[in-house]
Amino acid sequence: MNSCVIVFPGSNCDRDVAVALEASSGTRPRMIWHGDSELPACDLIVLPGGFSHGDYLRSGAMAARAPIMRAVVAKAKAGTPVLGLCNGFQILTEAGLLPGALMRNAGLKFICRDVFLRVENNYTLFTRGYGPGQVVRIPISHHDGNYFADSATLNRLEDTGRVAFRYCAADGLINADANPNGSLNNIAGILNETGNVLGMMPHPERLISHELGGSDGRAMFDALTALVQCA
């Protein structure tokens, strides 16, 4: 699989996701500098986690205006899969590729811990490796992961199966106790209208092997790899 990881100043999970992609696909992704304006032909674009531009002003705001983002938007519109993890999700919303915004966690604190997610839609390029309603354990690590969208947008997301993941309890129950950051409807990850752009706050790249304490994240990278190999 030919993937591109976009590196912004302050990205810090770029290497982590590159390792995960290589572990699944056997191919090392190309690392693309934010100041470039063109993207090579590729099967997947990843916007990694981190603190692009220090998360100053608003998380993801400055990165979303980087020169490379015009190319990312164009490719996304043309159907290339785009995955935004954590800061990458924030950048995708700031760039308008995904609706809504990620606000400060309701508890105001940075939170780093494993959480449970329920796979709400496993008919996507990204989630085909999971079962319907499967509960997976994936870490979060963010300060601004509190998903907000106006009610019309929220309804549209819900009605069209665009909520990919929701924070849940270990048994899959969706409730306030399982919501780490105050996200509306416990939303942890959403898709764009055409289903080729996924943004999520949790970090699947952090749990890809038993040494790291679990491998629930791996299925996402395996699924993306398999997709390309079939095509």
Partner: protein, 731 residues
């Protein structure tokens, strides 16, 4: 502007009259204000170690694993396969008391610069924190600010914060301790030092611009606090972790080539210290042109520029033919880059500003000829042994256990570490909550284990035993995960060295920790001394924080503290005499603060530690925990809570008084846990190595059971253990 130097000005610069006389003698004239500022920065306790140096020289700093010991920005140890680990711990106590968020954040930034200055990519951060009593009205605010600041900086730059320790004690009410440790990894042939060489080589400034930050910060860090100290506030520096991330990447990119001759980060007393140290180590002179220093504010004076402690800056000496390529790198990372001077053969530190020479000082006098004091000291009087019979027993060990595990000293620190990104970089194979954190060496099967330890109440009761114990506990924490202890860093936090009893604590602790480092083969490769930690004449408890690292050859052979399954055999390694003096039980449950701390038998530590590690490395043991604060029952409860399995225990015959057996803090002990088929082998292996080992019981159920009696349910324990911190912080 010509300022006449008065005794008041000298005193304001923290210089003693005889020190000023020494300056007059060596210069053969009066210094101007800028020069005085430079002297005050260089001769400050913080830079010159004038009160501690004679004692620091007695510490063990060498060994086959040591590539570079104290004296550089950080210590360097060999970790095999052509790689080195570079690490150090440093204090940011006073700034953190004044502005907890920024003080702690810039402490983290500073220690990381020490590590990447030497060419290493930081791979793990730790922090050792001491706060005042929970009841003290300021404590909550300080905890919340310090933790947010450490996280704010480390999370942003993307280095995992994987461990540390926290104590609450009224002795820190007016003077908290924030000690930050950073570990980096570099290729052995790509380590960079601060010794300048060559004449006429460009001296290059990179990073952020210079502002009027923390002017006199270095002096503040060594001046006793007084009632007015909260008014010294504007000298607080603000950290910019984003710029530090860029600086890190730019420096490592530059260091991949051969441009750098010497490099030194600008920490305390920024430009002054870094320039003088590089020149002095190389036996050179140095010329600085301040008109070329990138400034954030207009009209900065030479004095201000030389003493500014603006963060995220570095000074380097480059090969002249590489300066252009170096500039291109820093400009691409959008960082300032300026050639601000050159190396000379004059041995003088000459500073020009607006066409004038504003300072002209001999380099060697500033650096090597700083005053050194052999301060008078009185040893801490030894305390008598406290007999277990003199400490009231409890008829309800379960209640005592809940109070200990659900109190400020032993409650879960989850509230803290969940605010730290402890997984970024994708190599954290043992997360916080265990004995030592373990990060995998990227792309390999090896791991680096790290821990910080000291028990200040032991050090206060007996500096020497306390010093030994701090190292011994670090050693145990490393052995308990299966790591071979490699080397040590320290952060020696004490009160005023001008008081003989405080000096006595410093001396005792250094002797103790040196003895332990020798015996346990963990040389001290870096460290930091923070003195004058006092408020209104009351000193903090002696706190020689120890940071240590160890190596695992195969992370698959690593132990964790969690009970793994039902029916496993629980074994106790080491001897239990039931030592209650200075134990948490004596303090918290029985209200006794007297008695000698537990004695440390270093030969036993070594033998038992080697045995435990050997069993883990051989793949026989996957569950291990050392016994420290709170004693055996606390250790067992932590293992039960981590795994979600209870245990059924039996008091051994001749155990002595139960409270002493359950809560005594005898050293050199571990709890191991293995499946029943592995137990006989383990027992005989221990016997063969003269390692005492006792069977305690089995894992299973959801309770802690002793001799058929319920001590406590895990549910109750978990509730107490997990909730104290968040409840306290909620206020």
């Amino acid at each position: 502007m010509r300022v006449t130097i008065t005794p008041e000005i000298v005193a304001e610069h923290g210089l003693k009259p005889d020190e000023y006389d020494q300056i007059l003698r060596v210069l053969d004239r009066a210094p101007n204000l800028t020069e005085l500022g430079i002297f005050s920065a260089m001769w400050n306790e913080h830079c010159s170690y004038k009160s501690s140096r004679v004692w620091l020289r007695t510490m063990p700093t060498t060994g086959p694993q040591v590539v570079c010991g104290p004296g550089e920005n950080a210590g360097v140890v060999d970790i095999g396969d052509g790689q080195v680990a570079i690490f150090k711990m440093e204090s940011h106590n006073h700034p953190s008391f004044i502005e907890p968020y920024q003080g702690a954040a810039t402490g983290v930034g500073g220690i990381m610069r020490d590590v990447f200055t030497m060419g290493a990519r930081p791979v793990a951060n730790l922090n050792a924190l001491r706060f005042g009593a929970p009841e003290n009205p300021k404590t909550r605010h300080l905890v919340s600010g310090v933790v947010a600041g450490i996280g704010g900086y480390g999370n942003c730059i993307g280095v995992p914060t994987v461990g540390g320790e926290v104590n609450f004690d009224p002795g820190y009410n007016g003077n908290i301790l924030v000690n930050a440790m950073c570990i980096g990894v570099a290729d052995a042939d790509k380590v960079f030092y601060s010794t300048a060489s060559g004449v006429g080589n460009p001296v290059v400034y990179v990073g952020s611009k210079t502002g009027r930050d923390g002017i006199h910060g270095a002096s503040m860090a060594s001046a006793e606090f007084d009632e007015n100290s909260e008014e010294k506030r504007p000298t607080v520096q603000v950290g910019d972790p984003f710029t530090e991330k860029l600086l890190l990447e730019a420096c490592l990119e530059l260091m991949a080539g051969d441009a750098v001759i010497a490099i030194q980060d600008m920490g305390a007393a920024g430009l002054t210290c870094s320039a003088v140290e590089m020149a002095s180590k190389g036996g050179l002179g140095l010329l600085l042109d301040l008109d070329r220093v990138p400034c954030r504010e207009a009209g900065m004076t030479a004095y201000e520029m030389m003493l500014s402690e603006s963060q995220e800056r570095m000074l380097m000496v480059l090969r002249p033919d590489r300066a252009g390529a170096a500039r291109a790198i820093f400009e691409r990372w959008e960082l300032d880059f300026a050639i601000v001077g050159e190396t000379t053969d004059t041995g003088r530190f000459i500073i020009r500003h607006r066409g004038e020479t504003v300072a002209d000082l001999p380099v060697d006098v500033l650096a090597e000829q700083a005053p050194i004091y052999q301060r008078p000291w009185t040893p801490t009087p030894p305390l008598p042994h406290l007999a277990a019979a003199d400490v009231p027993d409890t008829d309800d060990p379960g209640a005592a256990l809940v109070r200990l595990l659900g109190g400020p000293h032993l409650s879960s620190r989850r509230w803290i570490w969940e605010q730290y990104d402890h997984m970024v970089m994708g190599d954290t194979v043992q997360r916080p909550g265990g004995d030592a954190a373990v990060v995998r060496l990227h792309g390999s099967r090896k791991g680096i284990a790290a821990t910080t330890d000291v028990t200040p109440r032991y050090c206060a009761a007996s500096p020497r035993e306390g010093g030994k114990q701090a190292v011994a506990e670090a050693f145990r924490n490393l052995c308990a995960v299966g790591a071979k202890p490699l080397a040590t860093t320290d952060c020696l936090n004490f009160g005023s060295p001008e008081r003989p009893e405080i000096m006595g604590q410093l001396v005792g602790c250094i002797e103790g920790l040196s003895e332990a480092c020798r015996a346990l083969d963990m040389p001290i490769v870096s460290g930091n001394v923070s003195l004058y930690n006092e408020t209104r004449g009351v000193a903090i408890p002696p706190t020689p924080a120890i940071g240590a690292i160890g190596l695992l050859d195969d992370i698959d052979h690593m132990a964790t503290i969690a009970f793994k399954q039902e029916g496993d055999v629980i074994l106790l390694v080491g001897e239990t005499s039931g030592h209650l003096g200075q134990s948490l039980y004596a303090r918290e449950i029985a209200g006794r603060k007297d008695g000698a701390p537990p004695p440390v038998d270093l030969a036993a530590e070594r033998r038992y530690g080697d045995f435990v590690r050997g069993q883990i490395v051989a793949g026989n043991v996957r569950t291990a925990h050392d016994i420290s604060d709170g004693g055996l029952l606390v250790a067992l409860s932590e293992m039960a809570l981590a795994g979600g399995y209870g245990c059924v225990l039996a008091l051994p015959k001749n155990a002595g008084p139960p409270h002493a057996w359950l809560f005594g803090e005898d050293q050199a002990r571990y709890v191991l846990c293995v499946s029943p088929d592995k137990a006989p082998g383990l027992l005989s292996a221990a016997g063969a190595r003269r390692v005492p080992i006792t069977e305690l019981g089995r894992t299973g159920g959801r309770d802690m059971i002793l001799d058929g009696r319920l001590i406590q349910t895990l549910e109750t324990l978990r509730h107490a253990h997990e909730n104290w911190f968040p409840d306290y912080m909620e206020g």
